[in-house]
Amino acid sequence: MIKLEVNGEQYEVDVKPYWTLLYVLREKLGLKGTKNGCGEGDCGACTVIMDGKSVHSCLVLAVQADGKKILTIEGLAKEGKLHPLQEAFVEHGAIQCGFCTPGMIMAAKALLDENPNPTREEIREAISGNICRCTGYVKIIKAIEAAAKKLRGS
């Protein structure tokens, strides 16, 4: 039995020793926004923020998520109002098939939480664990820059 906080809500889940956090999020908590693209920590589609740091949830043993605070894509928008990152991704054409988007946005959020004024190089570094096959990263980087600017402004 593990206790974890996901997007501000408390959950108690019975887990098997070999289950991952990704499996628990998707199959036990019904939070399908976080995606399984490879299951091996290479594609980043499963990226969530755990205790303030971006992690690949497919490589986090569910047991080890006990007592942790998790933020997934479903936890970003507040009462229907999009987070500036989500707005920027929408506006700048940074979303095509959308499968990498939740993980990509979480990686970007983790970056901006720690570094509100990243250089382009720092943005590229922060999303290096996220594969996007559609965009070539061009508009993703633009969107993150725009969101950072907006967040600094307000």
Partner: protein, 758 residues
Amino acid sequence: MEKDSAFLVVGKKLPRVDAIAKATGQAKYSVDLELPGMLHGKILRSPHPHAKIVRIDTSEAEKLPGVKAILTFKDIPKVKFNPSTRYNFPPLPEDAYILADKARFVGDEIAAVAAESEEIAEEALSLIKVEYEKLPAVFDPEEAMKPGAPKIHDWADNNIVARISVNQGDVEKGFKEADLILEDEFKVQPQHHCALEPHACVAHYTSEGLTIWSSTQVPFQVRNLVAKILDLPIHKVRVIKPHVGGGFGGKDEMFHEALAALLSKRTGRPVKIELTRAEVFSATRTRHSGKERVKIGFKKDGTIVALHLETIFNAGAYSAASPRITRANGVRALGLYRLPNYRFDGYCVYTNVVPAGAFRGYGNPQQGFAIEQMLDMAAEKLGIDPIEIRLKNVVRVGDPNPLTKGIFESVGIADCIKKGAELIGWQRRKPKIISNTKRRGYGMAIAAHWTSVAPYAQEYVGAVVNINPDGTINLMVGASDIGQGSDTVMCQIAAEILGLSLSDVSIIAADTAVTPWDAGSYSSKTTHIAGNAVRLAAIDAKNKLLTEAAKILKVDKEELECKDKKVFLKSDPSKSVSVPEIINWMKLNSEEPWIIGKGVYKMITNCPTYLAHFVELSVDIQTGSVEVLKFVACQDVGVAINPLQVEGQMEGSIHMGMGYALTEGIIFDKETGKVLNNSFVDYKLIPPKDMPEEIITELIPTYEPTGPFGAKGCSEVGMTPVAPAIANAIYDAIGIRIKELPMSKERVLTTFKRKNLK
């Protein structure tokens, strides 16, 4: 069709209609679907490249609690099919069953299990015992064609799936007139799509019918095949495409839908089959690999007098779409260059590796890698600029279209080249020596990509526009948005015609029971032909709306226009009636009390999209590392319905093309043919830090009269010029020609050292 630059919705950089759903994690993909009582399916795969299946013992697996059904060859319909069969296309070899009768590659599908959970299904697989009789195997197409090679399919002599010839003019005569003849051979590797969502489908077989949700590019194709294989009438099979996490050709055929349906029929419960990443790499499809042999004859001034292309493609263990892709590979050049004398001879050959199939570019990148380098080679020998030799030979507006026997009506390639040259600084180059270990090079290459497959097959598509009582519309289109953004483009077209904003339009697409026919998202045709069907449906609805409004306002229909849910007199906009009022009036006064617009479009021509790529890169002569510093892409899509999306496609294909050029490639084991690098650890995609610092995309507007608002195809052409542009730039930098892909760091260094030793 009118040219009009004062559009309100078309031509605007509007956000995608599904962007918010995707940005919030609400968008549902096939992998996300859950139905009550759903079982999980898993597939047992052959560990051998070529083997008879002697016996399969499922008894232990059946005893495992939670296992609900196991299928092997004895349980499946003995219906042979080709998963790439398209309803209205010339037929392909039907050489597959839904489970293999004989193992033909490592990964071939031998048995399927449905169980209460993925874990139980996995464990059941490990309990199935298969007795194989190993057969000799062959992995190279040229070896496979030799007498005495192992026979992979009974019907195919020398393992040849197809031999394709294309002939125009007389190449022998042409070569006799040439001042310069170049001949060379190039090798291309299997590339993998790496769509981020793995292949997945859910099937639910009930007494009311069969419903399938699938991550597919071709729902109608899947429907027809499933109906045929399971012997069901078409109306009982419904295929729905949820959001798709990328396709790129990798989902351009039926995969496991029929198998999932059969498991569902057996168990009476919904069944989901979702592939692991290793399965996607090892056992779905790759781009065709093989050899390109090219002979080109030139006049002194660079004019091409003859071109002979010979292709040998490795089709892999099953035919799928190989004959079509081979043919497509043979006609690419005809859309780009004036080729009075042209000949193509192509073979696609069975071997015991994972089958090759459709992949963005569809035969174009392979021949482009060869021909675009040879044009540079000729330019150098003739003392002409590479740009000049292209400009001399590209097709022009009014030239005869060799495929359709009509003419080319929109050709922007010359402007693409000139603009690209300007943007890269072709005439104002930075110094070649960057440091004592790095050299700079500039290169360019061009491509054309046919929009659709006409006249190879007759493509047609339908659309329906429903006007609601509040003046908003529901659009029904068969076209499949697989991430390229077709849903948005369709909405924009409908909105523009009816004078609405994008937020007044909702779309339902790619549901075979509800939306009109669309053959699927392939050949870069969706904007053009589905867009035309939507345009016609919107015009039909608009006509009906204006006809009724004319009665209400007591004027001639021609005097009316509609915008913002109002119909008004063009000469005096204050005289108007709202769409809700019209609909209300119609209920009492019209023969048909509601408005449904219908559009059906048949592809009447084939209008290529054109693209020029220019690169500036540096080569490290100690390590062979190639760093692309600046990348310029100039494309002619006619008119861009949504320039933001077109840019996205251009940028994405630069990334995918750079991977093809520099780092990607499926590697087959020499002993077993299995895919060795079936994970992202060793199948290397270009990471964000390795993308060029500067990427410039520019649209060169032309106008395609047959396209909706002047639009033609867009999304595949970007795969073709990347590799040859980079190869040409490497030659500029360090004087070596690389004729094999990928141009990895090791290959660049080895080729460089070999040249410098001579």
